[in-house]
């Protein structure tokens, strides 16, 4: 009996994320982008004028800035995308408040179940808006804020205004400017001094409609001596036309605080995933990015940590898995802006069935950042002859007294490794999955158990049918 069920589930699993939900939108902006549409989004959100002005200024920057000349090939018609789609009138405080068809989506994705088991708070974003939000009561009592960024602009405007776009200004890059103009949803988190949030806060981002652009904006402030682990997951069904996901994530980690931000991105293979993520870590603070990229057509994402004061630490773990028709241009940036700071990047990429993975990383030691330590390890695994892996490490060092390490390796699943496992009775598929899982094990073991299981399962799905 048990076997029957698991077999059926396995067949279903492959298409688990590829389902569409019939919804009744409350409001859908016209396709395309211009001043009217940007102003309309701001109006619908009943925003203060400073945010409206910020959006319009960002639109100008977006229009002026050229497309990035590096990374992957971006073939997007910016006038053929819906920039704003409001799926429901109000945000649910319980899942029963969420419109049934949307709730069903998140049920299928297992979010309410995960929430019951091991999460301290959840945000679920469907198209442009957060449709569900929860936070454990004791955290509310301790002054923790976990809400969508739209609500935060209205209800915590001083706090938002102090930090919003300070880490990533609209002028940073074309897609940061686009997000700044049309952003909607995303998480706002404030953790007061000394508060440690034991269980993860999770946000789940779902694109459902065709030609839909999702532009969430996340701002996390971890105050002195506090800590938080934030996790985000992303999926979308497969359509014939391309969609765009372009988020901006800003994180401020104050003195002695700690933040870990984990992403497991499993977008459908028609989505451009062009995301800017950056954190400022102050004295003795630690910022960790754990970034898993399995889906999308093209991902360009380089989570960054700027170490602003002595004792700050930045760690970035990056996993990229690219298969047929996919290009993962993933990596990391560490900027040592103060003395006695330390950073580490571990990147692992896997390419198969003609997929392309690139590591693009920057390590910069600014003048005055003496006694900085930095170590980069990037390993690539290529599963066949038609797949590709590239490494673009940039290192800029303006100080003498620093310790910098860089190791890179590219390997193919060796005939010898394969033969060894086959000689012990394993099938080819089992053997290559085992080698791949082993390859990313150093990263997976950093994840909380539930996410490690999820990651292994996703890898297994990616590996299915890869042999023979």
């Amino acid at each position: 009996m048990a076997t029957d069920i698991s077999e059926k589930e396995q067949i279903g699993e492959i298409n688990k994320y590829n389902f569409r939900t019939e919804t009744h939108d409350v409001f859908k902006a016209q396709k395309g982008i211009n001043r009217e549409i940007v102003a309309q989004i701001s109006e619908i959100k009943r925003e203060p004028s400073w945010m409206r002005d910020f959006r319009l200024k960002s639109l100008e920057i977006f229009e002026q800035r050229p497309m990035p000349k590096w990374g992957g090939e971006i073939d997007i018609d910016f006038q053929d995308i819906y920039y704003y789609l409001k799926p429901t009138d109000h945000q649910g405080k319980t899942w029963d408040d969420v419109p049934a068809e949307i709730k069903e989506t998140f049920d299928k994705l297992g979010i309410p179940e995960a929430e019951k088991k091991y999460l301290a708070g959840v945000k679920a974003q469907f198209e442009s808006e957060v449709v569900y939000g929860s936070l454990k009561e004791e955290l509310v009592d301790q002054g923790v804020i976990f809400t969508d960024t739209d609500t935060a602009v209205r209800e915590h405007s001083d706090l938002v205004r102090q930090y919003f776009s300070k880490v990533i200004p609209p002028s940073d890059n074309k897609f940061a400017a686009l997000n700044s103009a049309v952003w909607s949803g995303g998480s706002f988190i404030y953790v007061p001094p000394g508060v440690h949030i034991q269980f993860p806060l999770q946000a789940y981002f779902r694109i459902n409609a065709e030609s839909m652009g999702q532009f969430e904006r996340t701002l996390i402030i971890v105050d002195e001596g506090a800590s938080v682990h934030y996790v985000e997951g992303c999926t979308a069904p497969m359509y014939t036309s391309e969609s765009l996901h372009s988020a901006v994530v800003e994180v401020i980690v104050n003195k002695g605080a700690r933040c870990r931000y984990t992403t497991i991105q499993n977008w459908a293979n028609n989505i451009y995933n062009l995301v800017t993520k950056r954190a400022y870590a102050y004295q003795d603070a630690t910022m960790e990015w754990v970034d898993g990229n399995l889906g999308s057509k093209l991902t360009m994402k380089y989570p960054a940590v700027h170490m602003m004061e002595p004792g700050a630490r930045g760690e970035i773990l990056s996993i990229a898995f690219s298969s047929a028709g996919q290009h993962q241009d993933a990596g990391a940036k560490l900027v040592h802006a103060a003395p006695h700071t330390s950073g580490q990047i571990i990147s692992k990429s896997i390419s198969k069935n003609g997929g392309r993975s690139s590591y693009r990383g920057l390590v910069r030691v600014e003048p005055g950042a003496h006694h900085s330590k930095n170590n980069v390890v990037c390993d690539a695994l290529i599963l066949d002859d038609i797949s590709r892996s590239d490494t673009y490490p940039y290192i800029e060092i303006a100080e003498q007294d620093v310790q910098i390490g860089h190791e890179a390796s590219v390997s193919r699943i060796g005939e010898e490794q394969m033969f060894y496992l086959l000689s012990r009775g394993l099938s080819e598929a089992e053997a290559s999955t085992m080698i791949v899982n082993g390859f990313i094990e150093p990263l997976v073991k950093e994840l909380p158990m539930e996410y490690a299981v999820e990651m292994n399962r996703l890898i297994q799905l990616q590996m299915e049918g890869s042999v023979g």
């Binding site: 033969f419 086959l422 012990r424 394993l426 082993g438 094990e441 150093p442």
Partner: protein
Amino acid sequence: MSHVLKIENLQVSVGDKPILRGVNLTMNHGETHALMGPNGSGKSTLGLAIMGHPGYTVTGGSILLDGEDVLEMAPNERARAGIFMAFQRPMAIPGVKMADFLRHATTNVRRPDRKEGEDLIPMREFRKELKEKMSHLRMDPEFARRYVNDGFSGGEMKRAEILQLAMLQPKFAILDETDSGLDADAVRLASESIADIGGREKMGLLIITHHDKLLEHNPPQYTHVMLGGRIVETGGKDLAEELHRSGYDRIRKAYPDAEAANQEMIAEEAAV
């Protein structure tokens, strides 16, 4: 039940270079055979060809296991049919824990008809057995949590191979210099372990070795000497002892053709 591994006139090439030039060897279940010979004579090649290494092309002859054509089988089918090889230099599989690897291997070998994705041996049952075998081999339980051969010392690698042998309980096992690179104590421990497993499980053993310690605990009924890709002489335990004592000079002189072939192979190897 008695099993037979029968090798007839086996010819094997690497690329277009012939290495084995007609090997004949019949092993019965429960027998221990020593395979000796100078460097480059083709001992490891014989083992790897029996196991089905893709780099070794069989150009002639046959290998039969209980009458079944082994050459038709993929390496994993050979493993499931009951053939095992302890490698001289086993590969590291970083990130894969010994226990996880062994659970997959053991499941597949014990259920040769298992299909892709079917359940593994239940965790509890497997752990219990692994723990017993490891304690029997005097291995630290921590060993099961280490990554397969990753950063293992020479001795640890060899013991990991013996542990696999103990778990997989093959019908026939080839031990390729399982004693090389070990100090005297480690060789003794390895020898006792093999004797113990071999004695209890009753498998056919083909021991490739340069030393006498391993054979002391696993006295061979047959000793085969390879030279130039052929088995040129077969004897009993005494032959192994003689070769240890006096080396291969007598053999080299007695079989000048095979010696010439052996020199040629060594020279070609050096030229590559």
